[in-house]
Symmetry: C3
Subunit: 351 residues, 3 copies
């Protein structure tokens, strides 16, 4: 791929793509600016990396249109766009080799139940088990050892990596990606306490519904609803080892980082960002575009869109930072009190 | 099922079950009070939901004997019991369709080791692997892809969902439920530090023992003991993604919420409730009926039964709430100190 | 095995192994000092267990050379070494029965891809799937149901317990142990935000590289790098349910306890100890031999070797303990301020 071809490829995504340098030079792949060598393309999205421009071996660097970098143009070619980070992501997609999750077609060892509907171009891996009445949309790939219990429905162009387990009735949209070891639709954690201290299990009769363009990481668990549905809406992205309890609703394009835990019946709005190891008490609600810091403990609803939350129990970040600052100033406060006490004592003796 | 039949069914569990309304009306299933329609049964266990009584479409509502609800009896039928929540749970059990974890019988693709004992009515799923000398009690179901290494013993009427892995020697009681992806009996995390900074692995020679009526969620890990047993006692309920380290002992009917982590050699009493993402340092003990708040960090033993713990490091909740309140009052405290300082200065100048 | 044979065995590891007692007595196995009976060997590494010496039934106790224990030598035999804990670990290894992860040889049901290289003495379990061009070194054991996608390379003498999943291209050294349910090489969590609130997936083109003598617990997830490698260096030990994100580098002999979470591009030095449920923000660095307390939240780099970190956000432990102490003293501080205020008021009235 030449630099000119890269420019043309990026023109599909950006209105203005300016090329400075040698259009004919071949580019073999992407690399980080610190490690790139001749023939590779890199990018700078953050000004603090500009210092690498005099050092990098990259033949091409994707940069922001507004950066004045022409002093380096004798060393390397540039492509200037509005959003060099996203441009580089598109280039990564271009250079990424297609990944083989499992061989094409339906493995001889896959167990397919009764009344299963399988679209064109579907691949099902070794030892996968597809329950009765499941439906798998066209071009979807089910990895080795994945298990769908009965009545699971998956849309088109989705990828289940090996070892995903879906309980009965789970519904997935199109272009969904589920990583290995995740369990979708396991029973919600519901038990009714009895007078003798024991518990009676509350049947978990609902399902999990997952929208389009959702990606779920490895070893994450999403529990089915007690009644109704646990819902992961379109475009949501969930990292590894996350817990989503029964009856939660996660809004469109909300992102949840690793090891976060969402208790039962929590509703999270659209385009929220939930930090790693954050935790939510049950039955609360977050508005749209709320950001939750890593390790925060959300103990009540926050209904103001765009709020930034932090701490345990979580507060609006401004308040929480003020409290942290006061905390850091407590040593000084203690000294001041001791000094006031001494002065007062002296004053009393004098008077 | 008619309302009369529901009344009769609940009479098996409660001494007094009073019916107000149309005994002959058929009921097709359960629903939440907010969404129930004609033909459905719902319940009210919390007074704040009484407001839905004028709105719900439910044909039958299970309520507390003591609630004066007769003004609504022209809209809907009532069944009055001492504990409407538990009554509704029993109804959910009645209406829940039987779930097929795997087909009846032993799948042709299951691998059964030597000297395995299998009770009547056992089902073993596709590609399950049962090691030598395992024992599986009557009516137990082992889901697809579950793996029992050698010498695992499981009681009667238990359900292992697909993809459960048990290391050698694990012992389970009767009526146990294990959800997908959980790993029982993996090695405890024990390494002896050497002078050169490296570690020598400490062989983990013990086992895991799990009592009757235990339920374990998805992707939870319970490590085998170094010597002896890690013990999960009768009736304990453990949620998803929980870590129970080697040599722990979890008491009868103790409940542990998702992502909690119990370090090695911790002993937790009976009927405790451990919140989500709580963590325990090693080698400590909790008395019976202790409640640990979500995200708490237990750093020492608490031996007073029924204590409520909260915070990091965890304290008795009363103390911890007081500390949180003082923390919130620190801004005011700082202002007061500054005012005292100014007054003192003025006083000194005067004197 | 006689006590004399135990002495001889330990002499392989320690320069000085002193035996006090009956060299001919047979020893059948190890046990804890509290529960040991006649014929068993136990150890005391901590002075607070010396009180068990008058009670234990153990026939042999491994003790520190420096402890004056001869008053008990009529009850039990002793072996005295420099490091009784490590000596006992070596004895555990001696007494541990060999564990059968899977039957010897390559199971008939294992699926082996094209151009796979398999060393001498390799065992591959039931239903395991080995992708094209994988390489498995001699004497390595791949448990039942483990899946290696294409181009995975594993060294010699390693053990993969059942149900481990490795994505394509993962590289493992020699003597590696991976416990069940762990997922190695899953996609890093990288998405480029778009103007409309949606995300474009950033292809995760790198791999995971794992060194020699690494042990990884159950249900842990280690993500592949975006470009380059996520690296777990020689001798590192990682517990259950740990998250290691893309592009992290974990140093030699670093130990990470359960449920810790390491965000993307974090570099941790050698011989660090990371506590359970600790969390790391992305793109930061820890020097060698740093200790991170359980539940700490590391929000910036710490470059001083050997530092001890604690709290959220984490601070050097000394500072953090001081802050905790001040916090505990706040009630007293408030009382003092109120008293000063009263005295000042009185003084003003007088003057």
């Amino acid at each position: 791929m030449t630099i000119q071809e890269i420019r043309d490829y990026l023109s599909r995504y950006f209105d203005t793509v300016e090329l400075v340098g040698n259009a004919e030079e071949p580019i073999t792949g992407p690399a980080k600016i610190e490690t790139a060598v001749k023939g590779q393309v890199s990018f700078i999205a953050n000004e603090k990396y500009i210092r690498y421009l005099g050092l990098t071996g990259a033949s091409l660097v994707i940069v922001n249109r507004s950066l004045p970098l022409d002093e380096f143009s004798h060393r390397t070619s540039f492509i200037k766009v509005r959003d060099p980070y996203t441009a580089f992501v598109f280039l990564l997609q271009k250079f990424a080799k297609p990944r083989t999750v499992t061989a094409e077609g339906i493995a001889a060892t896959a167990v397919i139940g009764r009344d299963v509907s399988i679209g064109d171009g579907v691949s099902i891996g070794n030892y996968a088990v597809i329950g009765d009445r499941c439906s798998i949309g066209s071009n979807t790939v089910i990895g080795d050892h994945s298990v769908l219990l009965h009545d699971v429905s998956i849309g088109c162009n989705s990828v289940f990596f090996p070892g995903v387990i879906c309980y009965n009735g789970t519904v997935f949209g199109d272009r969904v990606v589920i990583h290995s070891g995740s369990v979708i639709g396991s029973d919600g954690f519901g038990f009714a306490p009895q007078a003798d201290g024991s518990y009676v299990k509350i049947p978990q009769m609902g399902i999990v519904e997952i929208g389009d363009d959702v990606e779920i990481g490895a070893n994450t668990t999403i529990d089915r609803a007690t009644m109704g549905s646990t819902v992961i809406s379109n475009g949501a992205k969930i990292d590894n080892l996350v817990q989503v309890a029964h009856n939660c609703r996660i809004g469109d394009h909300t992102v949840i980082a690793a090891q976060a835990g969402i208790s039962g019946s929590v509703t999270i709005g659209k385009q929220c960002m939930i930090g790693g190891q954050a935790g939510f008490a049950g039955h609360l609600e977050l508005a749209d575009r709320i950001q939750v810091a890593a390790k925060a403990g959300i103990s009540k609803s926050f209904l103001q869109p765009g709020a930034v939350l932090r701490g345990v129990p979580a507060q609006i970040m401004r308040d929480q930072l003020k409290q942290e600052a006061t905390l850091r100033g407590m040593g000084a406060m203690k000294e001041k009190i001791d000094r006031l006490e001494a002065e007062l004592k002296e004053l009393k003796q004098r008077s």
